[in-house]
C-alpha cells in the first residue's frame, strides 16, 4: 500500500517488447500446476476414482474420432447459445427497467425473487410438462433459470449509474437509441460482462440438467449415462471438452473484445 517513492531512478518504459512473455510463463505455470495436482490425485485415489490425464485425453480422442463427442458437444453448445442470447436480452432489459424505475421494480420484485429461487428442477419439469418434451421447452426452461440472475446483476448496475452523464444526454437531447448505446450500455459494461461470464457457466450447468431430464442428446445426456455407470473418465472427458471450448472462447473472442471495450480506462502505472 505504501510503496512511496523512496525510489529514485526510474527508466521511462519507452519500449516493452517482451510484454507477452511473463504472461505466457504465468499461464503455463498455472496450467502445469493443474496437471500436477491432477496426477497427484490419480496417484492418491487410484485411476478408478481419479483417472489420469492421459486416459481422459485418450477417451476424448477416441470419442472425437467416433464422432460422438463432437455431435453431443455441438447440440449442447447450440442450446447454450440460444438460451444465453435469450437470457441476456430479456434479463438486461428487465434489469434496466427495474433499476431505473421504482414502479417497475416494485411490480417486478416479488416475481424476481420467486423466479430467482425457483429450483431449476421444478422449472424444468414444469416446462416439460406444460409445454411438452420439446427443444423449445428445454431452452425456455434454461433461459427462465438464468434470466433472474442477469436481471439482478444489471439492476445493480442501473442503480449505480452516474446521473451526471444521463443529465448530459438529456440536455443534448440524445435519442433513446443514442443514450442506450453511448451512455447506458458502456456504463453497464462491467455488469454485463459479469452477468455474461457467470451466465454462460450457469446456463451450461442447467443445460446439463435439462438434457438429463428430458432430452435424448447433448453432453448432459452423455454425462448422466456415464454417471449411472460411474465412469469418471468419461465424465471428466466430456467436462474437459466443454471447458476447453470455453477457454478458447474466453481467450480468443471475449478477452480481445473486452480489451477493446476497456481501451478508455486509464492503465494503472
Amino acid at each position: 500500500m505504501t510503496d512511496a517513492p523512496t525510489a529514485l531512478e526510474h527508466r521511462a518504459a519507452l519500449a516493452r517488447p517482451r510484454v507477452l512473455s511473463p504472461r505466457l510463463i504465468a499461464t503455463a505455470l498455472s496450467v502445469a500446476a493443474f496437471f500436477a495436482l491432477w496426477l497427484l490425485g490419480t496417484w492418491w485415489m487410484g485411476p478408478r476414482l481419479c483417472p489420469s490425464p492421459v486416459s481422459v485425453f485418450g477417451f476424448i480422442a477416441s470419442e472425437t474420432a467416433s464422432g460422438e463427442l463432437p455431435y453431443h458437444l455441438g447440440v449442447t453448445l447450440a442450446r447454450v447459445a440460444a438460451a444465453f442470447v435469450i437470457a441476456m436480452a430479456v434479463g438486461t432489459a428487465a434489469g434496466l427497467a427495474m433499476g431505473r424505475s421504482t414502479l417497475a421494480n416494485t411490480l417486478g420484485e416479488p416475481w424476481l425473487i420467486l423466479l430467482l429461487n425457483a429450483p431449476a428442477l421444478i422449472v424444468i419439469v414444469l416446462a416439460y410438462i406444460w409445454i411438452g418434451l420439446t427443444e423449445s421447452a428445454a431452452i425456455l426452461a434454461v433461459a427462465l433459470n438464468k434470466i433472474p440472475n442477469v436481471t439482478v446483476t444489471i439492476r445493480e448496475g442501473a442503480r449505480a449509474m452516474d446521473p451526471a452523464l444521463m443529465e448530459m444526454a438529456k440536455v443534448y437531447r440524445f435519442s433513446r437509441g443514442k443514450t442506450l448505446a453511448n451512455v447506458t450500455l458502456p456504463q453497464l459494461q462491467p455488469y454485463i460482462a459479469a452477468a455474461a461470464r457467470s451466465g454462460i457457466a450457469l446456463i451450461w450447468k442447467i443445460v446439463l440438467v435439462v438434457e438429463l431430464l428430458g432430452r435424448s442428446n447433448g453432453v448432459g445426456f452423455q454425462i448422466h449415462l456415464y454417471f449411472q455407470m460411474f465412469d469418471v473418465r468419461a465424465i471428466l472427458g466430456y467436462t474437459l471438452a466443454f471447458v476447453a471450448i470455453m477457454l478458447v472462447v474466453e481467450f480468443f473472442i471475449v478477452q480481445p473484445l473486452e480489451a477493446r471495450a476497456n481501451r478508455w480506462r486509464p492503465r494503472p502505472v
Binding site: 487410484g46 478408478r48 476414482l49 419439469v125 416439460y128 410438462i129 411438452g132 418434451l133 438429463l212 431430464l213 428430458g214 432430452r215 435424448s216 445426456f221 448422466h224 449415462l225 456415464y226 454417471f227 449411472q228 455407470m229 460411474f230 465412469d231
Partner: protein, 305 residues
C-alpha cells in the same frame, strides 16, 4: 448392542418395504445385527454413499456390480426382486405387438443403454425381425416425467419401472411386453433379477456372519410380506398409494417379484443376457468387461448360504 449394518436406500423406494419390515418385526436383532437405514433421495445417491464408504450396503443391479468389479472395486450383488418393468400402452390403443409401434413415440426411462430397452430391442430383432430402435422414435427422460407424458398422450408407449407401471395399470394402461419376456426371448430360462443389494466383497469376507444374518432377515421379511396381507398395512404410507387399487396392484406385483432362489440358474441366465447386452450396449454400457465379471453374484449365495 450388536454389530450394525448400514444400508443406503431410496427413501420411498420399493426396497424400503422389505427393510422397514425387517426393522418392524425385529428380524435384524433376531439375526444378530442392527439394521440402520440411511435414506437418500436419488438412486445414484445410494451408490455414491457406497463408493464413498459411508454405508455397508446399497442397492443397484448386476451391471453396476460387474462394471465396478471390472474397474477394480470388488462390488458384489444379491438379488432382491425380479420386478423389472415393461412397455406400457393405453389399453384401448389397439397396439398388440412390438411391430405395431412402427412410427410411434416411445418413452424410455433410464436412457438408451437401459438394460430393459436393450433387451426389448433384442427380442424384437430375434422374434420378429423388427428394428425397434430404427422404426420408432424414442424419448429418454426421467421416469416420473415419462409416466406423466404417457398420461398426457404425448407418448404412445413408455418403457418404465414397475412401480410406475403398477399405477398406470389402475388407470387404463396395459403392459405390451415385460422386460422379463424379453429376457426369456434372449435365452433366460427363468426370471432375472432387476435389482439387488450391493456391497463390497471385502467387507463381506470380513463379516460373513453379518451377511448371512442379513440374508436370513431378508428372507424372513419376504416370507412375512408374501403370506400376511396385514403386514402391508404399516407400509401403506411409505408406498404412497393414492387409492386401494394402486395399493393392491403394488402388493401383487411386488410379491410376483420375489426371486425363486435358484441362484446358480439365475447367475447363468444373467451371464447369458449379459453377453448379449455387452454386444448391444458396447463398452459404454459394460465398461471393459465383455463378460459378466466373475463374482458379480455374491459367491456366498451359490456356496449354499
Amino acid at each position: 448392542e450388536g454389530p450394525v449394518v448400514r444400508l443406503a436406500l431410496l427413501k420411498f423406494g420399493t426396497v424400503n418395504w422389505e427393510a422397514d419390515t425387517i426393522k418392524r418385526e425385529g428380524y435384524d436383532e433376531a439375526n444378530g445385527f442392527t439394521l440402520e437405514i440411511v435414506p437418500f433421495a436419488g438412486a445414484n445417491a445410494t451408490q455414491v454413499a457406497l463408493l464413498s464408504g459411508d454405508v455397508d450396503m446399497s442397492t443397484g443391479d448386476w451391471l453396476f456390480a460387474s462394471r465396478q468389479r471390472a474397474m477394480g472395486a470388488p462390488m458384489t450383488f444379491i438379488p432382491y426382486s425380479t420386478s423389472m418393468g415393461g412397455l406400457m400402452v393405453p389399453c384401448d390403443s389397439g397396439l398388440k405387438s412390438l411391430e405395431d409401434l412402427e412410427g410411434k413415440t416411445i418413452g424410455v426411462a433410464g436412457g438408451p443403454l437401459d438394460k430393459s430397452w436393450l433387451m426389448l430391442i433384442g427380442m424384437a430383432e430375434g422374434e420378429l425381425g423388427f428394428d425397434l430402435k430404427g422404426r420408432t422414435r424414442q424419448v429418454f427422460g426421467a421416469p416420473p416425467l415419462l409416466a406423466e407424458k404417457l398420461r398426457q398422450g404425448e407418448l404412445d408407449a413408455a418403457l418404465n419401472y414397475w412401480h410406475y407401471n403398477a399405477r398406470l395399470e389402475t388407470e387404463g394402461y396395459c403392459e405390451l411386453v415385460s422386460a422379463q419376456d424379453a429376457a426369456e426371448a434372449l435365452g433366460a430360462r427363468g426370471k432375472l433379477s432387476a435389482i439387488g443389494y450391493i456391497f463390497n466383497e471385502e467387507w463381506a469376507d470380513a463379516n460373513p456372519e453379518l451377511v448371512a444374518g442379513f440374508l436370513a432377515a431378508s428372507r424372513a421379511a419376504k416370507a412375512h410380506l408374501l403370506e400376511d396381507d396385514a403386514a402391508w398395512e404399516p407400509l401403506r404410507e411409505a408406498m404412497n398409494a393414492e387409492n386401494d387399487a394402486v395399493f393392491e396392484t403394488l402388493r401383487k406385483r411386488w410379491r410376483e417379484g420375489i426371486p425363486t432362489g435358484d441362484a446358480a440358474r439365475e447367475e447363468a441366465d444373467t451371464a447369458a443376457v449379459y453377453a448379449y447386452l455387452a454386444k448391444a450396449g458396447g463398452t459404454e454400457l459394460v465398461g471393459p468387461a465383455t463378460e459378466m465379471a466373475p463374482g458379480t453374484f455374491w459367491s456366498g449365495l451359490t456356496a449354499g448360504n
